[in-house]
């Protein structure tokens, strides 16, 4: 209510700096568009809350759940309402995204409300995944716009945006998110599944709020969409496809809520088509359509819930003849159904008039398709309402609270009032369209008793729709084939397949990774070696590998290296453990010789020491191990494949290492090394050479550490001795 007053007072807005580093502002403005969607979300929300206060206790009682859980539903609904209001008023794309995702989270909680029910949980997850995954595309789009223009404030963006590929791609990404939220083909499959939600949730989210958010976003960024005609055409194609697919599926299904879900897909297809048509007519039509549809559709969802509560029936065919027994419900939902089917004297009539008018502006083909779509709508709405309320009475009737009935009646009355006094409704829609269009919009909604094209089209649609409805039985078989085809080949299958595929991939990865320690070491070494090989491979070979002359003085070096290589080659061919150990230490000693020849006697000494110790250790260990074990081990033969693999790995690593060493030796010595600089500093520290200086510098520290070590060792020894003596 406050929103309506605020809007009539001319709107207004406020903004506070949010993250100045990022130039983010929490800017909100109650403009016409925000008013339209805000009034819908808050108004219908209020009625749904009333309805839910009667429905949810019954729902919980059916499932033998505690009454305490009622609060959870209401809490999530309030969260949803608040984020929806934030969403419609946000003028900053990042803030808008924040609320966008919050609605997704709230919807996840609401759809998954029956948490013991696996189907409900999966449906909730599906709804969330489809909407939230597409939402990240939207985020990329927003950030692309930011990278291009340096702002995410919508008014500034509208002012500076030019047609360019970046903008087109960015806007397309945002539009994909919007279409997924509005359950348009090919993202429509989540909506029927989401019918696992309790009925009040469907009545709210899936008629007036959640799915409306998608077309809201399209309207909000329409000035950017208009920059590229391809985007507009894309919207028309998707809209028309959704109209057809939704309509056909609605005509072919039996579940009460499913029919309504498919109908929602189809109805938002109209809106998307009109947004694609663009221009003043399209904008006005889209805004008015959302208004008319939301009122009627939430009434119908509530009807479905009330019928299910009263009779236990959840599908057409299980119920009938309720018109006599529940007249108020029948009247209310009749008005709502007439509204959707666009009969005269309801608000729905004007929504179709505007639609026809916008479609005709774009040509006769579109006009014809529009009539076909409207005919489908008429047919499934007629089937829905007559199926429930006419025919032979079936089943027991349980008493239901009046709060389950009169929200329907109230909304039905609103639909009729809108058909008689269309002024205020049209004003609301027109102001919204002005925002979308960023210019003046004429919205003329009145009855004209003449043979203008729109009237003829409407009559044509009724006639065709009635024909479709009357031939319902004939159509049953092809429609069920269509629905099965959609199920088998449609996007839902792709969704399931990708989820399953990911799970399989995850298991595969798990199997690959969970292995022995050797496997893990390989996992470090092999990619590391890969990086090295890559480094070698991308190096330009020009001048990197040079060969110099071989002076006579280097002959001993070559001999030592040759011995080293021979010893290394011998290792894999030895079978006895002792021989392997000896060959390995041969490699080590040959290397030590090389070091000493290269002028590094200290390194050589260390190497000799280490090699000696390890050779002795090996010999000692082998002496201690049982002889027969060693002999048996030595006789074991590795499989041929492993031998080949090992040989290949060894060769490859040998080649790469040689290349690295070769190229390292080929390059000039750095101009001035650290050692040169340190040596140059020696006189400043009053030393003759750098070694003396280092020794002098560290002598004190060295002594201190030595004393500490000795002291600690003594303490430890004394403690041990004391313990020993005592024990």
């Amino acid at each position: 209510m406050a929103i309506a007053i605020g809007w009539s007072a001319g709107g207004g807005g406020f903004g506070v700096a949010w993250a100045p580093t990022w130039d983010l502002r929490l800017a909100f403005e109650l403009d016409g568009l925000a008013a339209l969607y805000g009034v819908l979300a808050a108004g219908i929300g209020t009625l749904v809350f009333l309805y839910a206060s009667a429905y949810v206790p019954r729902h919980l009682a059916h499932q033998e759940r505690s009454r305490r859980e009622e609060a959870r539903l209401h809490g999530a609904m309030v969260l949803f309402l608040v984020s929806m209001l934030g969403l419609v008023m946000a003028q900053d794309l990042i803030a808008l995204f924040v609320f966008w995702d919050l609605t997704a989270v709230a919807s996840w909680l609401l759809v998954g409300y029956d948490r013991h029910n696996r189907d409900a949980r999966l449906s909730a997850l599906m709804a969330l995944l489809v909407t939230a995954v597409s939402a990240v595309l939207m985020l990329v789009g927003i950030l692309m716009l930011r990278a291009e223009y340096g702002t995410v404030q919508l008014p500034e963006l509208f002012a500076v945006a030019q047609e360019s590929t970046t903008v087109t791609v960015a806007v397309a990404l945002i539009a994909i998110a919007a279409l997924a939220k509005s359950a348009q083909v090919p993202f429509h499959f989540w909506l029927p599944r989401a019918m696992a939600a309790p009925t009040p949730v469907s009545a709210y989210l899936h008629s007036a709020a959640m799915v409306a958010a998608g077309v809201f976003l399209l309207s909000r960024i329409h000035p950017l969409i208009q920059l590229d005609a391809r985007l507009l055409d894309g919207l028309i194609v998707i809209g028309l496809t959704s109209m057809a697919v939704g309509g056909l599926l609605a005509l072919g299904s039996r579940g009460l809520k499913r029919i309504l879900a498919y109908s929602t897909i189809s109805q938002y297809g109209y809106v998307v088509t009109m947004l694609g048509i663009g221009g003043a007519a399209g904008a006005a039509g889209a805004c008015f359509y959302v208004l008319g549809h939301a009122l009627a559709k939430s009434a119908l969802f509530m009807t479905a819930g009330a019928v299910t509560e009263a009779t236990g029936a959840k599908a057409l065919g299980e119920v009938g003849g309720l018109a006599r027994r529940m007249p108020l419900l029948a009247a209310g939902s009749g008005a709502a159904a007439a509204g959707i089917a666009a009969l005269p004297l309801t608000i729905g009539f004007f929504k179709d008039e505007l639609f026809f008018k916008a479609a005709l502006d774009r040509g006769n083909v579109l006009g014809a398709l529009a009539v076909l779509g409207a005919a489908l709508t008429f047919a499934y709405m007629a089937r829905f309402w007559t199926g429930i309320f006419l025919g032979a009475p079936k089943g027991e009737l349980r008493p239901v609270e009046r709060r389950l009935i009169w929200p329907v009646a109230l909304l039905g009355a609103l639909v009729v009032v809108g058909g008689l006094v269309v002024g205020p409704f049209a004003d609301l829609a027109r102001d919204a369209a002005v925002v979308t269009q960023r210019g003046a919009v004429e919205l003329e909604a009145a009855y004209h008793l003449d043979a203008r094209a729109e009237n003829l089209m409407a009559i044509g649609a009724y006639a065709l729709g009635f024909a479709l409805f009357a031939s319902g039985r004939l159509l049953g078989a092809p429609l069920s084939v269509f629905s099965r085809l959609g199920h088998d080949l449609g996007p839902e299958r792709a969704y399931n397949a990708s989820i399953r595929g990911l799970n399989r991939l995850s298991n595969r990865l798990h199997d690959i990774e969970v292995r022995d320690l050797r496997g893990r070491l390989i996992a470090v070494v092999v990619p590391g070696a890969g990086l090295v090989a890559l480094g070698v491979a991308v190096t330009p070979t020009d001048g990197a590998y040079r060969t110099g002359a071989l002076p006579a003085a280097d002959v001993p070096l070559v001999v030592a290296l040759a011995v080293c290589a021979l010893a290394a080659l011998a290792v894999p061919f030895c079978r006895r453990h002792l021989l392997i150990a000896l060959a390995l230490s041969g490699v080590g000693f040959a290397l030590a010789t090389t070091y000493s020849l290269m002028g590094a006697p200290d390194v050589a000494l260390v190497a000799v020491l280490i090699e000696t110790i390890f050779a002795l250790l090996f010999v000692g260990v082998f002496a201690l191990l049982p002889r027969d074990v060693l002999r048996r081990e030595a006789r074991l033969r590795a499989p041929r494949s492993r031998k080949l693999r090992d040989a290949a790995i060894a060769t490859a690593s040998g080649v790469v290492t040689s290349l690295v060493v070769w190229s390292a030796f080929s390059r000039p010595v750095p101009r001035e090394g650290m050692s040169d600089r340190l040596s140059a500093l020696a006189p400043e520290a009053h030393g003759k050479d750098i070694v003396t200086v280092i020794l002098a510098d560290f002598r004190g520290l060295d002594t201190l550490v030595e004393i500490t070590v000795v002291a600690v060792a003594m303490i430890a020894v004394s403690l041990l001795l004391r313990g020993k003596l005592r024990g």
Binding site: A19, R115, S506, L517, V532, G535, T539, L659, V660, E684
Partner: protein, 540 residues
């Protein structure tokens, strides 16, 4: 003589004690904690030692704040203390403080000896600090080992649990291979550049960009550091070690080590190797893609929460690489921002896991969270917030972290990497939400599971433990009984007995609140991150 002395003082290298003070605080604190840990009194060991550890960490953080905005090379330019170092110090300290709270009653610290346990933790933090402050290859390696070796030991501190020992051993062996790879690479860089100081390397980086030795060095260093940062395909130790290590240690390792690894990657690659960007950036970006895919896909099938978080940490490492490869100040700021919030998001989750491990005996299995939403709001909400934040949902800091990174990527021609991040986080929804669903949409398991529950906790009371030690028994072995006496019949318990562990719940709730606070108003953290990014002045 006096003249000589005077000359010596003037000639002595200037030592900036103020800038060194955070390091000194950690060393001193570590020594004190180790010594106090020798005390016989259980009160001193159990209560005073953790408090001393907290004081040390607090002092380190305080000194870091005091030194904010200095930008100096210290110790003969072997280390640099600037806003990047200090910002990362805050992250390590935060991780350390949370780890102390989580370890307060853990059996691991009791078994290893409190003094040693907390001293090792402090030394590891010192290693991280040295690592990110390093301005010299030798210091880098010292920091690397000082960080790693205490962690190897900490992983194995839950000595009577086989997995803990296994995890420590595995980490040691695989970690040594990683260290060796790094060392090899450092040696090659030294060989190519002729100096170990970053300045020497920076001087030659441009002309060396296509030198084999230099490239191979970069490749090996990349592998070694990628290992520490759990970047695929060098991540394979992560799930095992995370799962096996005591949960407080895992939490500490997950957040602090990651921050340290990224700190040094930024320092080295976006520092002296900046002129060789064309050499390493493509390789790193490729690793980022592999990491994001492997991490997210790997996490899908895990039922162990710690394994799941391990893979998730792999994936998050992949996101953060994006901030490094773009080599802009914005990228560094994004990485630092992400690291900071990564700490709080993960610690909230690890705190909840710790709490439930002690209560249910289901370990870190996802079923330990069933029914939490109804009974334990102070555990359920932090877990939910942590998961939503990791998934990047709005109103949590994770959202800003992710858009910061994507923005940095998009702004510098890595738009495709931004798309990979987006695809990765789309996949990640599936496993993060599974946890949220377990918290809110599942009923607590039947009483039978909690009947056999043996909470993993060092006894209900210190006295009980002392008695157990005195009797030569393992404390905690009979804890199931102690707890069930304290908390009524287990048969009526639906989701595990409640154990008084306010400090763990405090960590969970506090981290969750911080996550939300920065999600609603990220400005202060963005300021810090921007300062840290501006520390690298050579960048745009």
């Amino acid at each position: 003589m006096t003249g000589l002395l005077a000359q010596a003082t003037t000639k002595g290298p200037p030592i900036n004690w103020e800038a060194l003070s955070p390091f000194i605080a950690l060393v001193a604190g570590g020594c004190i904690v180790l010594l106090v840990g020798l005390a016989r009194s259980a009160f001193i060991r159990r209560q005073v030692v953790p408090v001393l550890t907290l004081l040390t960490l607090g002092a380190t953080a305080g000194l870091g704040v005091w030194q904010w905005d200095i930008n100096e090379g210290i110790v003969a330019n072997a280390m640099v203390v600037d806003n990047l170092t200090l910002a990362l110090t805050m992250i390590f300290v935060a991780g350390g403080i949370a780890a102390v709270f989580l370890s307060w009653r853990s059996i691991a610290s009791a078994e290893a000896g409190e003094g040693e346990y907390y001293a090792l933790m402090l030394m590891s933090i010192l290693g991280m600090l040295v690592l990110v402050a390093a301005n010299d290859l030798v210091v880098l390696f010292i920091g690397f080992e000082l960080l790693s070796i205490p962690l190897y030991v900490l992983c194995a501190t839950h000595m009577r649990r086989e997995q803990s020992l296994e995890s420590g051993l595995k980490y040691l062996i695989i970690g040594s291979v990683g260290s060796a790879t790094l060392l090899y690479g450092l040696a090659m860089l030294y060989g190519a550049a002729g100096g170990t100081n970053y300045g020497d390397i920076a001087a030659v980086a441009a002309e060396m960009a296509d030198d084999t030795l230099f490239m191979v060095g970069i490749g090996l260093v990349l592998a070694g550091l990628a290992f520490k940062a759990s970047v695929a395909p060098f991540h394979q130790w992560t799930p095992d070690v995370y799962e096996g290590a005591p949960t407080p240690v895992t939490g500490f390792m997950a957040v602090a080590t990651k921050a340290a690894a990224f700190g040094v990657i930024i320092r080295l690659f976006v520092g002296p190797l900046i002129d060789a960007t064309t050499t390493w950036a493509p390789a790193f970006a490729t690793l980022a893609v592999i990491t994001i895919i492997v991490g997210n896909v790997g996490a899908l099938g895990q039922s162990s929460l710690k394994r799941m978080l391990a893979y998730s940490s792999v994936a998050q490492a992949g996101y953060m690489i994006a901030g490094v490869v773009v080599t802009t100040q914005l990228g560094i700021a994004a990485t630092v921002f992400y690291l900071a919030i990564y700490v709080v998001m993960n610690l909230a989750a690890f705190a909840v896991i710790t709490a439930r491990e002690r209560e249910t005996g289901l370990g870190d299995d996802i079923s330990s969270l069933y029914g939490l939403g109804r009974d334990r709001p102070f555990l359920a909400w932090p877990m939910t917030i942590a998961m939503l934040a990791l998934a990047g949902f709005p109103v949590t800091a994770g959202f800003f972290g992710k858009i910061y990174l994507i923005n940095a990527a998009v702004n510098n021609g890595y738009g495709w990497l931004g798309v990979v991040i987006v695809v990765g986080s789309a996949i990640s929804l599936a496993y993060y939400l599974r946890v949220v669903a377990a918290v809110w949409m599942r009923e607590a398991p039947a009483a039978s599971t909690s009947l056999s529950a043996v909470p993993i906790m060092a006894g209900g009371s210190p006295e009980g433990d002392e008695a157990a030690y005195a009797a030569g028994r393992e404390p905690g072995a009979d804890v199931g009984r102690v707890v069930s006496e304290d908390f009524g019949e287990p048969s009526i318990i639906t989701s595990g007995p409640r154990i008084s562990q306010p400090e763990v719940i405090f960590v969970a709730v506090f981290c969750a609140l911080v996550t939300i606070a920065f999600g609603v108003y990220p400005e202060p953290l963005m300021d810090v991150a921007r300062d840290a990014g501006e520390a690298l002045q050579s960048l745009r």
